[in-house]
Amino acid sequence: MRIPCPHCGERGHEEFLYLGDAGVRRPDGMAEAKAGEPASRPWMDYVYLRPNPAGVHRELWQHVHGCRAWLVVTRDTRTHAISGAEDARTVALARDGAPA
């Protein structure tokens, strides 16, 4: 595969490290965590449960052998066709409503 890194241009995917679904959201880290209770649904969603779609997937890759930026890549898991790659921090700032 060829991933269009927004910083470095198109590169072979062997330069990148894959993490997974970019749709999961870390819940409040100060949520009450009582010893001995099973994980809450938001934490299950964050750490374990995945939609795992056969189709368009927004996912995190890091350009480890390049600029080291984390990227949000939009890719179809059936065809591997990539429709976009964005700088993850920029996406995350927008997500969190913070100025870039």
């Binding site: 099973p38 449960l49 795992n52």
Partner: protein
């Protein structure tokens, strides 16, 4: 028709014109006592054991393609029970025992070949980890031997003992491990299940799961609705898609794993050899091809094919381990979709929906589990509770933390 010396000879004399279909091609009935979704190795063995062990024969297996079209025909055919953790060893050992009696049981030669599995280590750390594992196996009554370098050399003299980047220090040897002719497993279970009355329905894709009041009623398919009070999902790489039809989200990602076969050569590799430092494993089929593979492609995928970087990685490991394979040629490469679970271990359990059962999360090691997976899943479906052997493969273990993480890599499916 039963396969015997007599049937073979009589068919030979009449020009092989009297062989019967290995299975019927039935139209789906309106309803069954149980439906298994997925006509792969696990689904077919589940149907077989439902009929054999639990007398449940009014059963349908629905398969979107042809029988055995998934990972049962796309793997590297290895069987072994050299696991580390208590939740795993008894299950895989049960599987190995079922393999050992499989051919007589189903009257089909799946070529179960206990050639032995040799897992190499290269450092003190990996040696001690192998010892821990071998001891855990022995505690469970499973065969395991720790070989030193010379012991490895006696079994596999073609390895690189002189100039390897990761020196061969020794290996964990399980003599009862080996290989099985993968397609024949699907066909053998299919034929045996069919003979016990199970309907095997090919080219029938499940498009929906009908649930009312928290209870499953049956499945919508491309050939119409089929009702059943019990529905078992054995969909491997497609587990997430099918479970989503019932509103379930799973701790699973689908990843592609490639496998390779070389041109046939005269006997060269006698055992199954696993090269830990190179993420590589190899054996030789009865036909002569070297069958080998490596790591997954490490990104979510439903395409049954891989990419070049992993091909290079696997070939590098092949030559690094066994320099004499360099001039042999790789004949075919293919990919299967692995249901990579979040802790690297499978799930065989009931679901929050009554009558709906799930069997998934096999990661890259589902083939060896085929008999026990079906056996335990059949028990879970028939009795509506897990068997002792699959008690650890709970769906809720991710919430409770009772993980079975052999690799210790945590919730990162592409690292298991």
């Amino acid at each position: 028709m039963r396969y015997s010396i007599f049937s073979l000879l009589s068919e030979a004399l009449r020009g092989n014109t009297g062989w019967q279909p290995a299975w019927r091609d039935p139209e789906p009935k309106a309803s069954y006592d149980a439906i298994i979704v997925g006509g792969g190795g696990h689904g077919l063995s589940t149907a077989y054991y439902l009929a054999k062990e639990h007398g449940l024969t009014n059963v349908a297996v629905v398969e979107k393609g042809y029988l055995g079209s998934g990972n049962v025909g796309r793997n590297t055919t290895i069987i072994r029970s050299n696991y580390l953790l208590p939740g795993n060893i008894p299950f895989y050992e049960h599987s190995l025992k079922l393999w050992e009696g499989l051919e007589q049981d189903i009257n089909y030669n799946a070529m179960v070949s206990q050639r032995g599995v040799l897992h190499l280590f290269e450092s003190d750390g990996t040696r001690d980890a192998a010892a821990r594992r071998g001891n855990a196996m022995r505690l469970e009554g499973v065969d395991a031997e720790l070989l030193d370098r010379e012991g490895v050399r006696r079994l596999a003299p073609m390895l690189d003992f002189d100039s390897a980047r990761f020196p061969v220090m020794g290996g964990l040897w399980q003599p009862r491990g080996g290989t099985v002719r993968h397609d024949a497993v699907a066909w053998g279970y299919a034929r045996a299940a069919d003979r016990r009355g199970v309907d095997l329905i090919q080219n029938c894709e499940v498009t929906g799961i009908r649930v009312e009041n928290g209870r499953v009623l049956g499945v919508e398919t491309t050939r119409g609705f089929i009702g059943a009070p019990k529905v078992g999902l054995a969909c491997a790489g497609n587990s997430s898609r099918v479970a989503a039809m019932a509103g379930l989200q799973l701790p699973i990602e689908s990843h592609v794993l490639q496998a390779f076969v070389s041109e046939g050569v005269k006997p060269l590799v006698d055992q199954v050899i696993i090269f830990g430092a190179g993420h590589f494993y190899i054996s030789q089929s009865d036909k002569g091809g070297l069958v080998f593979g490596g790591d997954i492609d490490r990104y979510n995928s439903y395409a049954q094919r891989g990419n070049l970087p992993v091909i290079h990685e696997v070939m590098e490991a092949a030559v690094a381990l066994m320099p004499s394979v360099s001039r042999l040629r790789v004949l075919r490469q293919w990919g299967g979709i692995m249901d990579m679970s979040m802790d690297g271990s499978p799930i065989i359990d009931k679901t929050p929906i009554a009558g709906l059962y799930i069997n998934c999360g096999w990661c890259i090691g589902g083939f060896k589990a085929t008999p026990a997976s079906g056996w335990c899943f059949a028990h879970t479906i028939a009795r509506d509770e897990p068997h002792r052997l699959n008690a650890a493969y709970r769906l809720d273990r991710f919430a409770t933390g009772d993980l079975i993480d052999e690799a210790g890599t945590g919730a990162t499916p592409n690292l298991h």
